[in-house]
């Protein structure tokens, strides 16, 4: 028996470790050898509760929506507004009427041709129920002039109107009238019908989203591909977006060839990707601004001097090094609330203040603010690891200028809850790329949203109002430069730095170009 049991043990080990996997591997379909349809397998870190483009602002939804849906207008490579389903448009002299001509013959994924009725129904629904309905609050009526002409009347002129239509954060995608009319709740597939180069073929919740090339896609040949618009086409037959929660698993799957593209890898994978013969490192840029939110509803940050003390007491470079694991490729220090890539909006106001650490000045400001030494709560979480890594170095730096800081580590829902209750003094957070400034001005506007946390400054409000009102892009940009100047004087929140995201892709991926959202049109394999 002893010999037999030994053989049994050996057999089990041989089976488990040696022979079986090789045999099994030879049986299964080898990913590398797969023939037939061109499928791009993308590993993602996030899952969505619904895929309706109008009804959510999640980052992944922005990306998905840009493949499946199209708006009247969209964002170009320099973040300016470019036409998409609109052939052209005209604006009345007083700026309260926009008349859009549609491109003729554009097909929905269900084969029907887009008409002005669909545009009206989609805008009406968005204005009533959309996640970003506040941006389009000025819309008074949408009128169908003829099958290819639609007129939008505004209650008052709104310079940010085209930008609000184009904003891919909760994309105002045009959907068939019969599906969107009166749809209060998020639509579910197969009702999610758009005009984009890919159609939504299948969604297994928390597991996989399958996009399929839309064979009857109506290409827009007027301008070359730019930003989220221009001449786009699906060169791949299918894109499989596969939920893979662990970043180590996404990376291992990419290295093994199970995935062609892996989103959101740890910065530590950068060197390995760069030295790989088969993989490319992709730096998603711009990605997000790392910020420190301050609760101005209560002491000490209801005092502008206490807020200024934070802004002048921090060394942003050392914090960003902590955030990115000391990888300069993944951060940038610049004062603007817009990324340099957003050429239309970027400016340098505040460069004399941003990242100019001055301990003596910070101490003096804090003293003058009347801070009583009460410990302040710095809230962060470990679900989003970089938010935690941003908070850790902040604590000692603020203690060095005289704050007492208590680090409160939650999970992400816990942090949201604590901030919504207003039970915090500081929190680390991020502002992802906002193509349209009105997409995040609620952080700075008096009483506009709970998220300003009590901050209110008349000068800031004036500048932001001008940004909404002005119709000339240059004058809008000037208004936001003014707002940024005011930002550094009154410190509604502290900008720490720009952070980028590491993705990995197989070298076989052709034509991929980095933008602030991932784009898989005009990409082949």
């Amino acid at each position: 028996m002893s010999r037999r049991s030994l053989i049994a043990v050996l057999f089990v080990f041989a089976g488990v470790f040696g022979w079986a996997p090789g045999w099994l591997a030879s049986l299964g379909p080898s990913p590398a050898a797969a023939q037939g349809p061109k499928i791009l397998r993308v590993a993602t870190d996030t899952n969505l509760p619904w895929l309706d483009p109008h009804m959510g602002t999640a980052f992944t939804l922005r990306e998905l929506s840009s493949h499946v849906f199209e708006g009247l207008v969209t964002i170009g490579e320099d973040f300016g507004v470019i036409p998409q389903l609109a052939e052209s448009w005209s604006v009345s002299g007083d700026g309260t009427e926009y008349t859009f001509k549609l491109r003729p013959g554009v097909k929905f994924h269900n084969g029907r041709t887009v008409t002005a009725e669909d545009v009206k129904a989609s805008i009406d629904r968005f204005v009533q129920f959309g996640a970003r309905r506040g941006d389009l609050g000025a819309v008074q009526a949408v009128t169908v002039v003829d099958p290819l002409t639609v007129r939008i009347s505004l209650k008052q002129a709104q310079g940010s109107f085209l930008g609000a239509l184009a904003n891919p954060v909760a994309l105002l995608g045009i959907m068939p009238k019969e599906l969107v009319q009166g749809a209060k709740d998020p639509l579910q597939p197969p009702q999610l019908v758009g005009t984009g180069p890919f159609r939504l073929a299948q969604w297994v919740r928390d597991q996989q989203i399958t996009l399929q090339r839309f064979d009857d896609y109506t290409r827009d040949r007027r301008i070359p591909a730019s930003g989220l618009g221009g001449d786009r086409s699906a060169l791949l037959d299918e894109v499989h977006i596969i939920s893979t929660g662990e970043s180590a698993t996404r990376f291992a799957g990419l290295e093994r060839g199970d995935f062609d593209y892996a989103m959101a890898l740890a910065p530590t994978a950068f060197e390995r990707l760069r030295s790989s013969a088969t993989l490319d490192a992709i730096v998603l840029k711009p990605f997000t601004q790392v910020i420190l939110q301050l609760n101005a509803n209560r002491a000490p940050f209801n005092q502008v001097k206490a807020r200024q003390a934070v802004s002048r007491g921090l060394d942003m470079e050392s914090i960003m090094r902590g955030v990115t694991g000391n990888q300069p490729a993944f951060y940038r220090l610049q004062p603007s609330l817009f990324f340099p890539e957003q050429r239309v909006w970027h400016n340098t106001a505040g460069e004399d203040v941003y990242n100019r650490k001055n301990v003596d000045l910070a101490r003096r400001l804090l003293k003058e603010s009347g801070y009583d030494g009460r410990p302040i709560a710095l809230v962060t979480n470990r679900d989003i690891e970089w938010l935690y890594r941003a908070a850790v170095p902040v604590q000692p730096q603020l203690e060095a200028i005289g704050f007492k800081v208590e680090l409160v580590v939650r999970d992400w829902p816990g942090q949201i809850a604590q901030q919504k209750e207003g039970n915090f003094d500081m929190a680390t957070n991020g502002i992802s790329t906002r193509p349209e400034p009105t997409g995040f001005d609620y952080l700075f506007r008096c009483g506009a949203s709970y998220e300003a946390y009590g901050y209110c400054d008349p000068e800031m409000d004036k500048a932001l109002a001008a940004g909404v009102r002005e119709r000339e892009p240059e004058r809008r940009a000037q208004a936001y430069a003014q707002a940024q100047k005011q930002f550094y004087e009154t410190v509604p929140l502290v900008k720490i730095g720009d952070m980028f995201q590491l993705d990995g892709a197989t070298k076989a991926l052709k034509g991929y170009r980095v933008f602030f959202l991932r784009r898989f049109w005009n990409v082949s394999k």
């Binding site: 028996m1 590993a43 509760p49 506040g134 180590a248 829902p413």
Partner: protein
């Protein structure tokens, strides 16, 4: 009959626990940027604006009627979500249990028949290491070795048996090993010690004196009498494996029940968390019941009055 109070207590605990963690499902669904009005509207739609006792009674009434509610995040009935994930977790747990038994029992027997030999010491040292390594670390190690370096096996995902039997096995080998090996180590240790005890017993001496071949002595007489101890460990291992599946499913990206619960907690998906906890506690209760019944079958001295 004691099952009913056990279930009630579990239900109340499941209901209370997830609500004790700070976090608002509506705020999670709508994100940090949502307006307070939008959050309040959604809370009302999800029934979260009711007082907690009312919510509990409503939930309990529906559970008694066999209705677990609807997941906030997935939008589908909780039971459907669970049933959709259950085959994955059951396959994984079964495969891991098989790994544990087929690794643990032979090693344990082998070690017991050669006590204090180098192979015994080696096996027991390996067992201690195996018991001490956390399953997620073991999982990542297996991924690096067999997935990335040797490229033998896929490192993530799940293929249903009905779609491809080979794919099913391929995708399950590494997670089952990661999950099963620590339990295999435990089983090996228990098998060894109870086998040692049995091999020293009088009936084994008698069997040897009768001139029985050593394999028959070890396999038939000694091992049969250690089965009850091994079974206890296997029973508790099944429960531990079900718990460990939570971690391993996340590492290997298997769309199983563990993954579902982890996500549900992160999203504060109250109905789903409650439904899963209730179901898992039911499974634990049933497994314990089965083990108790098997005891009586294996050991005639045990009789339940």
């Amino acid at each position: 009959m004691l099952l009913v109070p056990a279930w009630l207590i579990m239900g109340a605990a499941a209901f209370a626990l997830i609500r004790l963690i700070p976090g608002d499902p509506a705020a999670v669904l709508l994100g940090m940027e949502a307006t307070p009005q939008a959050v309040a509207e959604l809370r009302a739609r999800l029934g979260l604006d009711q007082p907690l006792p009312v919510q509990f009674v409503l939930w309990l009434t529906r559970v008694i009627q066999g209705e677990l509610g609807r997941s906030f995040f997935l939008g589908q009935p909780v039971l459907d979500a669970i049933l959709g994930r259950l085959p994955v977790t059951l396959s994984l747990t079964a495969a891991a249990l098989a790994c544990a038994v087929f690794i643990g029992v032979p090693i344990g027997i082998r070690a017991a028949t050669r006590p204090n030999s180098p192979s015994d010491l080696g096996a027991m040292a390996a067992a201690v290491v195996g018991l001490s390594v956390p399953d997620f670390a073991l999982g990542l190690g297996l991924i690096v070795l067999f997935g990335v370096s040797l490229q033998w096996l896929p490192v993530s995902g799940y293929v249903p048996l009905s779609r491809s039997p080979a794919g099913f096995v391929q995708h399950l080998v590494l997670p089952a090993l990661a999950l099963g090996m620590p339990q295999g180590a435990l089983i090996a240790r228990i098998t060894r010690s109870s086998m040692l005890e049995a091999l020293g017993a009088d009936y084994v001496r008698t069997a040897r004196a009768k001139g029985l071949a050593e394999p028959a002595v070890v396999g038939w007489h000694a091992f049969r009498n250690t089965l009850i101890h091994v079974l206890t460990v296997v029973g508790s291992a099944a429960v531990v494996l079900l718990g460990g599946a939570f971690v391993v499913e996340t590492v290997f990206n298997l769309p199983g029940l563990g993954n579902l619960v982890v996500m549900a907690v992160k999203r504060r998906d109250y109905p789903l968390v409650q439904g899963c906890l209730l179901l898992i506690s039911t499974v634990v209760i049933v497994v314990n019941l089965v083990v108790d019944v098997l005891y009586a079958y294996l050991d005639p001295q045990i009789r339940y009055g």
